[in-house]
């Protein structure tokens, strides 16, 4: 445990990402990002559109590569981390394969990782249990509601027990009530699995309610303006949203974002 704590899950030093470098269409998506994430943290990336929060997530996922700077995932090159399947990913749309049942969708990463069939089934059932959808294993995605589809996507991301869960506005398309329930659900899963979560969101209340730390970003060029510790105690419950400290944090992050936007 002590070794893990000493070694950050994510270590970004001076990371920049420039699209179309040295051309007229050059866009500086991220500039000089420094970020350290320890194991078991719940980090939210928040900021206005174009601040590069999704870019940062994709850099961590090695779906794109940084133009400059050093980025280490579990003390490995991000490419190696991807090959080692160190992280699971959840998008705004559930991105389930419509021709596969819920069970088969959750088994998809295990198939690619060449797990034997019996273990695939057992692990998928466990992951579906975790998101409380085990009785829907034989349904097809189109038979599920949006919230249920997103829970299947979370189960799929967690089924191979990655140490890191990357979520790109996972509840952005859901209605407010479903979203609040999904937040509670996610906190429960996070505590059960001890996974480190990087969570991109547009919603300040969601970021405050979920996170141990909120990374506030600003656009043009995308960078981190501040990192706010949310020292509300876990487990957070429905009433957490009514506490004065919650509102203080809400106000603080909102003001930071306003300042970021005015730059």
């Amino acid at each position: 445990m002590s070794i893990k704590a000493a070694q950050p899950v994510i270590l970004a030093q001076n990371v920049s990402k420039i699209y179309n470098p040295n051309t007229e269409e050059q866009v500086i998506a991220l500039e000089n990002i420094d970020l350290q994430v320890q194991a078991g943290e719940f980090i939210s990336l928040i900021g206005p559109s174009g601040c590069g929060k999704s870019t940062l997530l994709r850099l961590i996922a090695n779906l794109i590569t940084p133009t400059s700077g050093a980025l280490r995932i579990n003390n490995k090159d991000p490419h190696q981390a991807r090959l080692d399947r160190d992280y699971g990913m959840v998008f705004q749309s559930a991105t389930l394969l419509e021709w596969r049942t819920v069970q088969k969708n959750v088994e998809l990463p295990l198939e690619i990782m060449r797990y034997p069939a019996s273990e695939r089934r057992a692990r998928a059932q466990a992951a579906l249990n975790l998101v409380e959808l085990s009785q829907f294993y034989n349904h097809y995605p189109w038979q599920l509601s949006g919230g249920m589809q997103q829970r299947v996507a979370i189960a799929r991301a967690l089924v191979f027990e990655p140490s890191l869960l990357l979520m790109d506005e996972p509840f952005g398309a859901l209605d407010e009530f479903t979203r609040e329930r999904m937040n509670m659900e996610l906190l429960r899963i996070w505590q059960e699995t001890q996974t480190t979560i990087i969570f991109v969101t547009h919603s300040i209340p969601e970021a405050i309610f979920l996170s141990s730390r909120v990374v506030v970003m600003s656009p043009r060029p995308g960078r981190i303006t501040s990192i706010v510790d949310i020292d509300l105690p876990y487990p957070r419950v429905f009433e957490t949203r009514e506490e004065p400290r919650y509102f203080e944090k809400l106000t603080a992050v909102r003001e930071l974002l306003r300042d970021a936007h005015e730059v």
């Binding site: 394969l97 419509e98 097809y140 329930r181």
Partner: protein
């Protein structure tokens, strides 16, 4: 915490018990009427004598005659013929009795009508019981009621066919008036029935509107004479006012009118007679219809030198006219009313659009008189041959299309370079390519298959390409996040995502492959396929061969539709779990 908002809500179908009775009354009444019509038909056919043309000339009746002829043969070639022969041998007779066969056919016709009545009655019961089966019975009754359209002979002069059509109209109206959901199959049958009715109905309308006026109508009285000379003598004697005769015959006998300057009427055999060189056949009005009399050019009107004013054809009306009997004027012009067609609905006449019964009859008759095989069997063999080529072409084209599409999807530079040529290939008419393919590959099924594949591969290429590129970018990122290999991305994501697109293309290709095979058969001079049959029947365009041509078209359409349905079935089995829109 469990989300029970289930994606597919069961549709709650509410019925209004009070409304059901009133909404059912109209369709029920219509069905009862149809039953009455069918019962009338049933009694009429039951009462038919064995030699009634309604029975003998019907599709089944003519089949009976052919079967009787086949049963005389030592070894009939066709299965039906062998069956007839076996029956005759079992009965210990030299041949089957035509009358007995006709009675059997009569019973079959009565049976068909009885089934129709029974199903219609079941439909009425189903309607009042508010059961979906009632509608199915109604459609079943409609299908059976349509059969007599293909069996009962046309042109018997009675209203039998009209009664059949009336029953069909009543049943279709009842179906659409009846409450309940209109399913795909039901509406398909209903539309098919409407097509048949419009087919026969438009022919009836065309026959009614295809207005012919006979010229001369009344007021054209003439006397026949044994010879031309007798007629001319009668004219000279003043017994008649004019003679209509062959122009070449009268030209040597008399001078023309008007007289040419240097002519000498006295040098002819009949110096007092003149033949009119210029007869005015301009438009006249008969009743309310304008009529253009077409006076045959080889006829001449002969008048006396004194009565030369009869230059207008209409002025011959009410005049005393004579003509040599047996002459063209008598046989083809004066005695036979000449028909002037006022409204030409040529597309709908029997030559171009045969009656449905004629087509059915052509199918159930040998291609040549007393031939050993029915046209249906000949066409079935030809269709099977063509279908084999089409399936081969479909396989080659489908595979080629899929491989090209996959290649294009994975290698963008190849797509950019090669796709324009693939598109261009489809702008070249297949008819221009086909003879070359035949020369390269030799005339045979392989050339036909390649020509068919030429029409087939393109849609598959385009849709495979589209389909393989259809997954959402997030899905591709997801696969990358699993460090999936290119092959895994292909087989676990891209290919399954492309399947709906590929099947859409395959359905198009399935029908196109049949067209390609038929086109390919022509330059390959393959005699055993449908291409040859279509060519044969269309080259001799006559009342005898057009029904056969339609039958061949029907056979070609059948294998195309069958291919489509088979691909559709496979599609359903493969894609039944995909999102339903």
């Amino acid at each position: 915490m469990t989300d029970f908002s289930y994606g597919r809500n069961a549709e709650s179908v509410r019925s209004h018990p009070r409304l059901v009775t009133t909404r059912v009354l109209l369709p029920a009444a219509l069905i009862v009427l149809a039953i009455a019509v069918n019962l009338a038909l049933l009694t009429r056919i039951t009462a038919l004598e064995i030699d009634n043309p309604l029975l003998v000339d019907s599709t089944l009746g003519e089949l009976a005659v052919w079967l009787a002829a086949q049963s005389e043969q030592e070894a009939p070639q066709s299965m039906l013929g062998q069956l007839a022969r076996a029956q005759a041998v079992r009965a210990g007779a030299a041949s089957l009795d035509t009358a007995a066969l006709l009675t059997l056919m009569q019973r079959i016709m009565v049976g068909i009508l009885a089934v129709s009545v029974a199903l219609a009655a079941a439909a009425v019961v189903g309607l009042f019981a508010n059961s979906a089966r009632g509608r199915t019975a109604l459609i079943g009754s409609l299908i059976v009621t349509l059969l007599p359209l293909f069996i009962l002979p046309v042109g018997t002069g009675d209203n039998t066919l009209m009664l059949v059509m009336a029953a069909c109209v009543l049943l279709i109206t009842a179906y659409f008036a009846a409450p309940g959901r209109i399913t795909r199959f039901h509406s398909f049958v209903a539309v098919l029935a409407i097509i048949f009715l419009v087919w026969e109905g438009s022919k009836a309308v065309a026959a009614a509107l295809d207005y012919r006026v006979a010229v001369p109508a009344t007021n054209w009285e003439y006397t026949g004479y044994p010879t031309l000379d007798d007629a001319l003598v009668a004219l000279e004697a003043g017994e008649i006012d004019a003679v209509i005769a062959d122009r070449s015959a009268v030209r040597d006998l008399m001078a023309p009118f008007p007289l040419a300057a240097e002519s000498e009427p006295e040098s002819f055999a009949y110096p007092n007679l003149r033949y009119l060189t210029n007869i005015n056949t301009g438009e006249a009005v008969l009743g309310i219809f304008p009529v253009t009399p077409a006076f045959p050019g080889r006829l001449a009107v002969v008048v006396t030198a004194a009565g030369g004013g009869l230059s207008d054809l209409n002025s011959l009306l009410n005049k005393r006219i004579g003509t040599p009997t047996g002459e063209f004027a008598d046989e083809r012009y004066l005695s036979a009313p000449r028909e002037v067609i006022l409204l030409d609905l040529r597309i709908l006449n029997d030559l171009n659009l045969p009656h449905l019964q004629n087509i059915a009859e052509a199918l159930l008759q040998p291609a040549r008189r007393n031939g050993p095989l029915l046209l249906a069997r000949i066409l079935a063999d030809a269709a099977l041959h063509t279908w084999g080529e089409a399936v081969l072409g479909f396989g080659i084209g489908g595979l080629l299309g899929f491989l090209l599409g996959t290649l294009f999807a994975h290698f963008a530079p190849v797509e950019r370079g090669l796709l324009p040529y693939v598109v261009a290939s489809q702008t070249v008419p297949i008819l221009a390519i086909a003879p070359m393919v035949v020369i390269w590959l030799g005339a045979g099924p392989q050339a036909v298959a390649v020509i068919s594949a030429y029409l087939t591969f393109f849609p598959v290429t385009i849709n495979t390409l589209r389909g393989l590129r259809s997954p959402h970018p997030n899905a591709i990122e997801l696969m990358r996040s699993y460090a999936a290999s290119r092959r895994e991305v292909m087989w676990k994501l891209r290919f399954p995502a492309a399947l709906p697109y590929i099947f859409t293309a395959l359905k198009v290709s399935a029908t196109a492959s049949v067209v390609g095979a038929i086109i390919g058969e022509l330059p390959s001079s393959i005699r055993s396929g449908l291409g040859r049959a279509i060519l044969d029947f269309s080259s001799d365009y006559s009342l005898v061969s057009t029904p056969k041509l339609w039958a061949a078209i029907l056979a070609a359409a059948s294998i195309g539709i069958l291919s489509f349905l088979i691909v559709g079935l496979v599609e359903y089995l493969v894609l039944r779990h995909y999102i339903r829109n």
